[in-house]
C-alpha cells in the first residue's frame, strides 16, 4: 500500500514516539479504571480506537463548515453520538461485554485523547490522514492498556483472561509459598505501572536519539 510519508507518520507516530498515553499523557483516567483484567481492557481499547478513528473522519469531513466559536461543542456532539451508537450496538450484539464495561463505555466521551486528536489533527487535516491518525492513537492507547492489564491481572489475581495461570498449589492457603498481590487490584498500581512504562519508553528513546 502506497501511503504518503505524512499519512504513515500520522499512523505510526502515536504507536511509539508520540504515544498518547506515554508522551502526551492523555487518557490516563480510563487507563486506571479498566485495567484490572485483560478482557475489558481490550474491549475498551477497541472501542476507543473505533470511536477516535470515526470521529476524526467525521470532523475532518465537516471541518471547513464548522463555525469556530462552537467547534468544541460540535466535536463533542459528534463524539457523543458515536459513543452512543457503539454502546447501543454492543448492547444489542455483545451484551456481556457492554455490561462489563458498564459506565466506562459512556465515559469514552470524556477521554482526552478524543478531543485532543479532533482539535489538534482532524480540524486541519484531510480525511485519510485523520483516519490513520485516529487509528494510530487508538492503538497506541490500546497497547498500553493491554500491557498494564496483563501485569495487573497476572500478579493481582493470578489469572489471564479469567483463566487461572498461577498453579493453585503455589498459594499459601494451599500450603505453597505464593500469594496474589492485592495492591495490583488498586487503581494506584495502574498509575505506577504506567509510570514504569513511561520510564522504560523514555530510556529507550533517549538512547536512540543519541546515536
Amino acid at each position: 500500500m502506497a501511503l504518503s510519508k505524512k499519512t504513515k507518520e500520522a499512523f505510526l507516530g502515536p504507536l511509539n514516539a508520540n504515544n498518547p498515553v506515554l508522551v502526551q499523557i492523555l487518557g490516563i483516567c480510563s487507563a486506571l479504571a479498566v485495567t484490572v483484567q485483560l478482557k475489558p481492557a481490550i474491549v475498551m481499547g477497541v472501542s476507543v480506537t473505533i470511536i477516535v478513528a470515526m470521529s476524526n473522519v467525521v470532523v475532518s469531513l465537516i471541518r471547513n463548515t464548522i463555525p469556530t466559536r462552537i467547534r468544541i461543542i460540535i466535536q463533542l456532539v459528534v463524539v457523543a453520538a458515536l459513543v452512543t451508537i457503539v454502546s447501543e450496538v454492543l448492547k444489542a450484539f455483545a451484551y456481556d461485554v457492554a455490561m462489563q464495561l458498564s459506565v466506562y463505555l459512556g465515559l469514552i466521551i470524556t477521554n482526552c485523547i478524543l478531543m485532543g486528536r479532533l482539535e489538534a489533527f482532524a480540524m486541519t487535516n484531510n480525511v485519510k490522514d485523520s483516519f490513520m491518525d485516529g487509528l494510530g492513537n487508538g492503538l497506541g492507547y490500546s497497547w498500553i492498556l493491554v500491557v498494564v492489564a496483563f501485569v495487573r491481572e497476572l500478579l493481582g489475581s493470578g489469572k489471564l483472561f479469567g483463566y487461572q495461570i498461577i498453579p493453585d498449589s503455589w498459594y499459601i492457603a494451599n500450603g505453597g509459598f505464593y500469594d496474589n498481590c492485592g495492591m495490583m487490584l488498586m487503581p494506584a498500581m495502574a498509575l505506577i505501572l504506567v509510570g514504569c512504562i513511561i520510564w522504560a519508553h523514555r530510556a529507550i528513546n533517549d538512547k536512540e536519539e543519541k546515536k
Binding site: L32, A33, V34, T35, V36, Q37, P40, N64, T65, I66, P67, T68, R69, I70, I73, I74, V77, V78, A81, T84, I85, E88, V89, K91, A92, F93, Y95, D96, M99, Q100, L101, S102, V103, Y104, G156, S157, N180, G182, L185, M186, P187, A190
Partner: protein, 251 residues
C-alpha cells in the same frame, strides 16, 4: 466559494441542523436495536436464575429453552403488589421458588436470585450480581466459591421463625438459631451488604415465606407465564459482571 462561518445566523442554523441530524440518527438506531437489547437483557436474567437453580450453563446450548422448560408460574409476594413477584420453577420434579434480592454494596447496588426448596426454608441455590464492586474483592461475591456456601442452609430456625442467613467473618458466631456463611476476606462492606440484603429482602417476602405450602397454591393468585413477565419487576438491569478500578476499603 468560501462561506462566512463566523456569522451569527450561520452558527445558529449550523448548531440546530447538527443537533437535529444527530437526534434523528440516534433515534433510528435506538428503535432499530431495541428489540434485540431487550431480548439480551431478558436472557441475562434468565441465565442468572438458572445459575441460582444450579443448572450448568456451560453445558447448555440454549439457556432460554432450558428456562422455559423449568419455569412454571409467578406468585404475587403480597396482596398489595408492592414486592417483586416470586417465580415458581420445577427442577427434577420438585418445586423451587426464586426470590429476587436487591441491596447495596460498597460502590453501587448488589442483587441476586435466591432459589428455595418447596419447604420455603432450605436454600437450593443462590446467585449474586453487582453493579460496580471491586474486582478481586467485593466482586468475588459472584463466584461459585462464595455462593455455593449457601446451598443447603436454612433461612428459618427450628421453630419456623424467619431468621435469614448471616454472612460473617471467619471466627464470628451467628445468633442462636441462625445459620451462617463466611464473608469474603477483604470485602467487609460488600459482605455486610449481602447480609443486610438477605435480611431485608426476606423480611419483605415474609407473608409468602410464612404461608404453609399447599399443593395447588390456592392461597396465591396464580397467573400464567404468558401474561406476566418476571422481568417487569427488575428495573435495575444488574449484571453478574462488572469492571471497576476502585478499591474496597479494608477494615
Amino acid at each position: 466559494m468560501k462561506m462566512n462561518t463566523e456569522n451569527n445566523v450561520y452558527t445558529l442554523v449550523y448548531a440546530t441542523v447538527m443537533v437535529i441530524i444527530v437526534a434523528v440518527v440516534l433515534a433510528v438506531i435506538n428503535q432499530g436495536l431495541k428489540a434485540r437489547q431487550e431480548a439480551n437483557a431478558r436472557l441475562d436474567q434468565q441465565k442468572q436464575m438458572l445459575v441460582a437453580l444450579n443448572q450448568d450453563l456451560d453445558a447448555c446450548a440454549d439457556p432460554a429453552a432450558l428456562y422455559d422448560s423449568l419455569v412454571r408460574d409467578t406468585i404475587e409476594a403480597s396482596e398489595d403488589g408492592k414486592n417483586a413477584n416470586i417465580i415458581r420453577f420445577e427442577v427434577d420434579g420438585t418445586t423451587k421458588y426464586i426470590l429476587r434480592l436487591h441491596g447495596q454494596g460498597l460502590w453501587g447496588g448488589i442483587g441476586g436470585y435466591l432459589a428455595l426448596d418447596e419447604d420455603k426454608n432450605t436454600v437450593f441455590g443462590i446467585n449474586f450480581n453487582h453493579e460496580s464492586e471491586t474486582p478481586g474483592l467485593g466482586g468475588e461475591i459472584v463466584t461459585p466459591k462464595f455462593r455455593n456456601q449457601f446451598n443447603g442452609k436454612h433461612i428459618k430456625d427450628a421453630e419456623g421463625q424467619l431468621r435469614s442467613i448471616a454472612v460473617l467473618k471467619a471466627g464470628k458466631k451467628a445468633d442462636e438459631g441462625q445459620e451462617q456463611v463466611d464473608a469474603w476476606a477483604g470485602a467487609t462492606i460488600t459482605s455486610t451488604g449481602v447480609n443486610d440484603m438477605l435480611l431485608n429482602n426476606l423480611e419483605e417476602y415474609k407473608e409468602f415465606l410464612n404461608t404453609e405450602y399447599r399443593v395447588q397454591n390456592t392461597e396465591y393468585r396464580v397467573q400464567s407465564t404468558d401474561q406476566i413477565s418476571p422481568y417487569s419487576v427488575s428495573e435495575s438491569g444488574l449484571s453478574s459482571v462488572s469492571v471497576n478500578g476502585q478499591n474496597e476499603k479494608e477494615d
